[in-house]
């Protein structure tokens, strides 16, 4: 009785303020107008706080990174989203899988688009991850202190390949069946354990229901989980290793004062000295705002660049998916192999080499290549040449690397376009 009823105008005001209040409860900071707020925007937002508050100008140069790492990540995001949607329709059964593909193509809403996006993003991711690896190598970015992150990156590359390979079987058409038959056969050439790996992958001596189920589980559960974890580690290490690599002369020289001077200076209280958390851990470069350090605020510089990369990536995939349909060949016929039966394109370099020598082409050379990649930062200890494309100081390493890459690309091109029936040499025109 005695409780005062709130006036009507107050209720109206509450309702009017509702959107604003909801908004501000989610986003604690207003759109930033000064540097302090720009910092706060970065570290109070869950999705943005993985970024540093300030980012080095060199990291934002498009010609330095080409945004390849980001593009790989966005492709992975697209793959996860489209992949989960596709999972609603897919059944990993040899009797149903192909029919499900036909349904996706014909009668499921957006089915064709989803499948196309998933397929082209997968191919794109393999290519872009590889280009990213080349970028990191050719700019010498694997050197101290980023050795371990390089190793994580190489593992991510291998996981991407395996991810794409396991997905290749799922449509259960002739293309899938024979590509996987060839691919697993290549694995079988490994010494001692090769046949066991092949058997483990296929769950039998030939590609069948067991293989389909195994590839499905690997593709939708095991590998994405590992890949996500490794990507998290990869990103975390970028922050811990001091951001992207940059050339030595990108930072202005800071004269480190002798200890005594620093000590006497420290006794005099100085107003408004800012310390970054990073700086507390890392030593001499603690002072922020005192020295010209070539960094800019992440908001908006970095975030806009990231958004732009995302928009470009998504548009490219959408356009590709509208223009080109993902291939779907005849239903599987195990008695009627196509001639030639080809592995997925990124393994055609291997298949081409296998046609010369089963062991060396399928296991020996690629094995050595991967071991060299993994060992690169521990073999190449020279500190020079970091952060510059094709640095003169890294001539030998770059030459070896480019030789391997070009050789592989040539083999892939030969295997894709110049091999016809019975793996005989043909010209595509």
């Amino acid at each position: 009785m005695s409780r005062p009823t709130p006036p009507k105008s107050s209720l109206l005001a509450t309702l009017l303020d509702l959107p604003k209040n909801v908004w501000s409860s989610i986003f604690r900071n207003p759109l930033p107008s000064n540097d302090l707020e720009r910092s706060a925007t970065s570290f109070t937002n869950f999705f943005l706080h993985i970024h540093p508050v300030k980012v080095h100008k060199n990291s934002l140069r498009p010609a330095y990174t080409f945004g390849l790492g980001l593009i790989s990540f966005f492709l992975f995001v697209i793959l996860i989203v489209t992949g989960i949607l596709l999972m609603f329709y897919y059944v990993p059964s040899t009797t149903q899988a192909y029919d499900r593909m036909l349904d996706l193509r014909g009668s499921v809403a957006f089915g064709t688009l989803l499948r196309n996006m998933h397929r082209w993003s997968a191919h794109g991711m393999v290519a872009v991850v590889f280009l990213h690896l080349c970028r990191v190598f050719l700019t010498g970015s694997y050197k101290k202190p980023r050795e371990f992150n390089w190793v994580v990156g190489v593992i991510l590359f291998l996981l991407t390949l395996f991810m794409s390979f396991t997905g290749y079987l799922l449509p259960w058409d002739q293309l899938a069946f024979w590509a996987i038959t060839v691919g697993t056969a290549i694995a079988g050439y490994a010494p001692v354990i090769g046949k066991d790996i092949q058997f483990l992958l296929m769950g039998g001596t030939s590609v069948g229901q067991e293989a389909l189920l195994r590839f499905y589980v690997l593709h939708v559960a095991v590998l994405p989980a590992i890949l996500t974890l490794m990507i998290a580690i990869h990103f975390w290490r970028i922050r811990k290793d001091g951001g992207l690599s940059r050339p030595e002369d990108a930072d202005p020289k800071i004269a480190i004062e002798p200890m005594e001077v620093a000590a006497t200076k420290a006794s005099v209280p100085e107003p408004k000295k800012l310390y970054g958390f990073q700086g507390l851990v890392r030593g001499p470069l603690t002072k922020v705002g005192q020295v010209p350090d070539n960094t800019v605020f992440s908001w908006p510089n970095l975030f806009l660049a990231e958004l732009f990369t995302f928009v470009v990536t998504l548009s490219a995939i959408l356009v590709l998916s509208l223009l080109f349909n993902a291939p779907l060949e005849e239903p599987v016929n195990a008695l009627h192999p196509p001639n030639p039966a080809k592995a997925p394109w990124y393994f055609l370099g291997l298949q081409e080499m296998v046609s010369y020598s089963a062991f060396w082409g399928g296991i020996g050379v690629p094995g050595i290549f991967v071991l060299l990649l993994l060992g690169t930062p521990y073999l190449d200890r020279g500190p020079k040449g970091v952060g510059k494309w094709f640095s003169r100081d890294r001539l030998l390493a770059n030459t070896i690397f480019i030789t391997f890459v070009v050789a592989n690309v040539i083999f892939v091109i030969i295997g894709t376009f110049f091999r016809g029936a019975n793996w005989a040499f043909v010209t595509p025109w």
Partner: protein, 605 residues
């Protein structure tokens, strides 16, 4: 940067617009709207009109599970008027499926009733195509990867341009009728019946196996050929075998176009298991070899004894003998020339060779055809009249006329038909062989032939002088090396070891140890090493050959090797004359069975 972002975002929006438009405005929805509109005009009652007005487009589908794997046919989504007789004269896709008495449809009280109701049969059981598709391109099977395009309606982009127009027509659908209507002469499937008859009368069955019909082993098994291949491949394989596979040895039969069509339809109907068969029926056919069907299909020719030769000639031509053999102008390019058959072989030999080719020529690839005895006799009578004409001219002219077909233009034993002969024709350029044999033996090989092989006794056609002229042509043109004086070797004329069980057992031991690598454990010349050897190791179970060779020659070949071949001189590897005697006894022992028949290698008197 911001402008670029704005443009990019707008671009994504536009793409989404396109995607949504494609997604929500389907061709099939427009078709259904058109159908509803037309049907409303044709409707007679208000109730009908109002139900039509309230109908919304939706995906129609028929799930068919009575015929093999479950099919989902969504064809009636577009062909929504297929069972509406009022739309008989409309254009596709709104055309009603025609009624026809040949399909078993019947008129009752002025209304047609279908024998094959769509709700039970669906569409793809008869028509093929992709039942699940909703896009005409895919559902009609136009895309090159779909294994079953609409039978007789849809041809695919990559089909051969000259074949594709011939592969259209309702009649091709008989292949699918035959999946249920398997009666021997079902009136609805005349092309299948005709094709089956052609399968026998054109002798396809000699090389090809079809479950329950034939047992040929030379060509591929055709039991489920209709499931594996599309029309264009089947047509191509028959009309122009080498265009599909350059190494194909299938002869090009001179068939009329309508015959090819009948064969294609028949082959298209071979899909392994068809819908009508039960397990027990299949098993019965397996037990009887499908004799009933074969009997009903093969139409034997009645042979009139007075006209045997004439009828035989007709048979030889009709039954496509020249698809392999050479006879006059016709040359199949696979088997020997028959032009001199009456001269080189005798009646019993030819007849036996017809009945069972391997009985007179152990490694012949000629299939045993299922003609009647009378037919064989007539054909034999005709072949016996073929005496050829003696070639005139020098050795070179004779070589070209008689020898080239097997021994080749360069004399290297790679003539046009050489790869189909077993043993291969002799490579005459190998001086090692040619010069290690006395001239008399080479002349004898020409004049008497080589027993058990395709080398005939040309002595029946050529005089001794002519044979020598051919040999000298061979030696100057192909062998080239001059003959040397032959070494005199101590070779026993007769086998010194008496034939006995112990000797044969000893011989077998040596054979398995020393000879089986090339000549094979069975002595049939197919040992593991034989694949890499040319000339191939001799088949020592070829009784005609082994019987025609005397002990002296066997001893010489084993002890001193055969120059120009992979046979080494075993005397260098420690074989004594007694060992070889055991071996010879073993070889003779595996050729005990004396076979009768026109042995063509009898010496010329």
């Amino acid at each position: 940067m911001r402008l670029a972002l704005a443009i990019g975002t707008f671009f994504i929006l536009v793409i989404h617009g396109v995607v949504f438009y494609n997604q929500f405005f389907h061709q099939w929805e427009r078709n259904q709207h058109a159908y509803f509109d037309q049907a409303r005009v044709l409707a007679k009652t208000d109730v009908e009109r109002s139900t039509l007005a309230s109908r919304k487009p939706r995906i129609e589908q028929i799930v068919v599970s009575n015929f093999g794997e479950t099919r989902v046919d969504r064809c009636t989504t577009c062909h929504i008027a297929s069972d509406d007789p009022r739309f008989a004269t409309y254009a596709e896709p709104l055309k009603a499926h025609p009624y026809s008495t040949t399909l078993g449809d019947a008129q009752k009280n002025g209304k047609w009733e279908r024998r094959h109701k769509f709700s039970e049969f669906g569409c793809t059981v008869c028509h093929d195509g992709q039942g699940r598709g909703l896009d005409p391109e895919y559902s009609h099977g136009k895309d090159e990867y779909w294994p079953e395009p609409l039978l007789g309606y849809t041809t695919q982009e990559n089909w051969r341009k000259d074949f594709a127009p011939k592969l259209k027509g309702k009649e091709y659908m008989q292949a699918n009728c035959a999946q249920c209507h398997t009666e021997i002469a079902f009136p609805g499937t005349p092309l299948v019946t005709k094709g089956r008859e052609l399968f026998f009368s054109s002798n396809c069955y000699g090389c090809h196996r079809i479950e329950g019909l034939s047992d040929g082993t030379i060509g591929p098994d055709l039991s489920d050929v209709g499931k594996k291949w599309k029309l264009d491949y089947l047509w191509g394989r028959i009309a122009d075998p080498k265009s599909i596979l350059a190494t194909s040895i299938m002869p090009k039969f001179n068939l009329k176009e309508e015959d090819i069509k009948a064969l294609v339809v028949f082959l298209k109907s071979r899909k392994g298991r068809n819908f009508a068969e039960t397990e027990i029926q299949r098993f019965k056919v397996k037990l009887t070899g499908g004799a009933e069907l074969v009997q009903a299909t093969i139409k034997p020719v009645h042979i009139n004894p007075a006209e045997m030769v004439k009828q035989g000639e007709k048979l030889v031509l009709d039954r496509a003998c020249t698809a392999c053999h050479k006879l006059g102008d016709r040359d199949g390019g696979i088997a020997p020339d028959l032009s001199f058959e009456g001269l080189l072989k005798d009646g019993p030999w030819i007849y036996d060779h017809f009945k069972n080719p391997k009985s007179t020529m152990p490694d012949s690839i000629m299939p045993a055809f299922r003609f009647t005895d009378d037919e064989f006799k007539a054909m034999t009578a005709y072949l016996l009249t073929l005496k050829g004409t003696s070639p005139a001219g020098n050795g070179e002219a004779i070589y070209k006329a008689l020898c080239l077909r097997c021994h080749g233009e360069k004399g290297d034993g790679r003539g046009p038909i050489a790869e189909h002969l077993d043993p291969y024709p002799r490579d005459l350029t190998k001086a090692g062989f040619m010069n290690s044999k006395p001239e008399a033996r080479l002349v004898a090989s020409i004049r008497n032939g080589v027993a058990g092989t395709s080398m005939p006794a040309w002595g029946k056609l050529l005089s001794e002088e002519q044979a020598k002229a051919v040999l000298s042509h061979i030696q100057t043109t192909f062998t080239k090396e001059a003959r040397r004086e032959l070494k005199v070797r101590p070779i026993p004329e007769k086998n010194p070891v008496a034939m006995s069980k112990e000797s044969v057992a000893r011989g077998e031991g040596i054979f398995v140890e020393r000879c089986a690598g090339c000549h094979g454990k069975k002595g049939d010349g197919k040992g593991p090493n034989s694949l890499d050897i040319l000339p191939k190791p001799r088949n020592l179970r070829n009784t005609f050959f082994v019987d025609s060779v005397d002990d002296r020659r066997l001893f010489e070949s084993i002890q001193y090797g055969v120059q120009g071949t992979a046979m080494p001189p075993w005397i260098d590897y420690g074989l004594t004359n007694n060992d070889v005697g055991d071996l010879v006894n073993f070889i003779r022992s595996i050729n005990q069975k004396q076979q009768k028949g026109g042995q063509h290698a009898a010496p010329v008197q």
